[in-house]
Symmetry: C2
Subunit: 384 residues, 2 copies
């Protein structure tokens, strides 16, 4: 008791101050005072960004990401903080990692993290003069629901994120639904954390530019959710049929049971980026009885026009029938994207056969900046 009493007597600070004592930070073992906090990623009014990393014992520190070709060398100051300032950047959300003696790592003190399937990245935003479509604005916000479901087709537990629009909780009717698929390296959460799909929908709905809709974001790999532990690296390309089965036989029935979703094909869209764009084409175009709207963002859309003629034979054979079923077919890709030729070839083939579609080539390449814009361009067109 004496030891306890002595200890108790020494606690003269208030309960709430006491309560702020954090667990010892893992990296410092709870010993010594922390050095002054740094602003690790500071966006200046001129839209340059200064990156800083405290690394007194490192001998080589760089920063790289989708704001720069290659990497920027950082320089160490006397206080052990490495820094470098970027060129002025266009307003956008960017991702980055530091490279400490050759090891690519997240910014240790930036809580804005794009969680990846295996590797993650830190994020920052360069704001424009006006709020962007993807910015949190002073409008009514929908809800993102994190659902665990037992995939019978895959025999694993998986997550899907579901966006419901403002007013859903207090409403009664059904909504059209967009199945929105992520790219390679991301997870079911990618369209929310880095893609801002929820804010994009909030803003477009508030402006009267998009119909209130539900957005279902499943995991695009045919295996258990990454949250359940580090997944082994894929030994081979995923089986596209396995994902399709999960989507059609597990994800859709779950979503339609739990949410007030219209079951009319005209009220169902499927879209995705990169790998997810390929999945949207593959699943969507082969199931026009299920989905009447298809969106392919920077997708692996095909190669030689001759290949496309074979691949989409049924679709191209009867343009009138296809055009009747396919309410909207939207294809977007950046002109400097390595996948652009495929999108262009798909557009050419569809045009040749008079299949109605929208082809929206954009600047830049295979980057998130494009995908947010594509979603914001696509969503106002659907369910009309």
């Amino acid at each position: 008791m004496s030891r306890l009493s002595l200890f108790a007597t020494s606690l003269l600070i208030t309960p709430l101050l006491l309560a702020q004592v954090p667990a010892a930070p893992a990296g410092r073992g709870g010993r010594g005072n922390a050095p002054p906090a740094i602003n690790s990623c500071e966006v200046a009014p001129d839209r340059t960004v200064t990156f800083r990393l405290r690394a007194p014992e490192a001998t080589d520190v760089k920063v790289s990401g989708d704001f720069v070709q290659g990497a920027l060398d950082m320089k160490k100051a006397d206080d052990g903080v490495w820094s470098v300032t970027s060129a002025p950047l266009s307003p956008a959300i960017y991702s980055y990692t530091f490279r400490v003696n050759g090891v690519s790592v997240l910014d240790p003190v930036n809580p804005a993290i794009k969680l990846g399937e295996r590797t993650s990245e830190s994020m920052f935003e360069v704001a424009g003069e006006k709020p962007a479509t993807y910015d949190m604005q002073n409008v009514a916000h929908g809800t993102v629901h994190v659902n665990w479901y037992d995939s019978k087709t895959l025999s694993v537990w998986r997550r899907m994120d579901v966006y419901t629009p403002p007013g859903y909780e207090s409403g009664k009717g059904t909504y059209p639904v967009l199945y929105l698929l992520h790219g390679s390296g991301d997870t079911e959460n990618g369209w929310v954390t880095i893609g801002r799909a929820n804010f994009i929908l909030d803003n477009l709905i508030a402006a009267g530019k998009a119909k209130p809709m539900i957005v279902v974001m499943p995991y695009g790999r045919a295996r258990q959710d990454v949250y359940l532990g580090p997944a082994p690296p894929p030994a081979q390309p995923p089986d596209p049929k396995a994902f399709e089965n999960d989507l059609l036989k597990d994800v859709m029935p779950f979503a339609e049971k739990f949410y007030r979703i219209s079951a009319k094909p005209a009220d169902r869209a499927i879209a995705g980026l990169s790998m997810g764009g390929g999945q949207a084409l593959s699943v969507g175009l082969n199931h026009l009885d299920v989905f009447q709207t298809v969106g392919a963002f920077s997708a692996g859309a095909g190669g030689r026009p001759e290949g496309l003629e074979t691949q989409y034979k049924d679709l191209l054979a009867d343009p009138a029938a296809t055009n009747k079923k396919l309410k909207l077919f939207y294809i977007a890709c950046g002109k400097t994207d390595g996948l652009f030729a495929g999108s262009q070839a798909l557009h050419d083939t569809l045009a040749k056969h008079d299949i109605k579609h929208t082809f929206a080539p954009s600047e830049e390449g295979h980057v998130w900046r494009n995908w947010r814009n594509y979603l914001a361009d696509f969503v106002p067109r659907i369910f009309r």
Copy 2:
């Protein structure tokens, strides 16, 4: 056109293979082949854990976390991969960071991340022979809702995570509600990502050990959500009244409007860990007309018994009245926690004044292992 055609002609792989081409990883600039993937955190059957980090150019690599005192030195092999194996660990969820030439960083290839307010950590689980209360089990799962709300009292946008139990979506009645507060360094998402509150509730509800309930998890700091950008480090301790105002005047009205929550004080509980435990005591005990159940996990619960007599004067003055209002008052703390003396003193003071309460001292200290267990011990007792 010729350049385009040449490029297109070279694309002889199928669309879905094409679609798998990821964006160039930020750290490698898209050049060269990636080295073979490593298992960065491998749990062996004997419950030792081998950590690995590819860092051929680093000269000093360690791993630390809540599984070890201090840090473990790692050794470099000829392939540039550093590794070390821990002692056998008890079944639990642990967090860790690597230290590369003095810089504490997340495991670059482990997607299981405990997102922090400023610094984050990687996670791994050592499984036991049977699934733990916090493990994903083959039971019905509730939903975690991510809600953005406009805090009028703080004039900022913030997030709250809300757990609804299985069956909520298809049901009609109201549910009791637990307001569950995180600790310093975590965010509103901490109780889900590292705390597994959703799985704990799922399992206890499935076993008939807990009443189906809604759990509301707000952000404990009186500022904008960290997702909206790196927050500057707190210049001073947060104003406890600002958080209380947000909770009572913004969080609760929002939650009660959006979710089918019982508005009876007997159906409301407030609990938290560490900083959140202090908040639960401060807000809960001062509003027994609002909350009739209070839980303090490893909280800054007070210091000297004399201070507590003053601090809780009103509560202690009329034990019969207090005991009538306070349906359950639960206090848990690890015996090696620096905050244990405060919890012990609070227990002693309450006992002296015949205030009904449950005091549940546990082994170990200020670690997440304890907080999951406390929640699993607390939840079956409430709303009875």
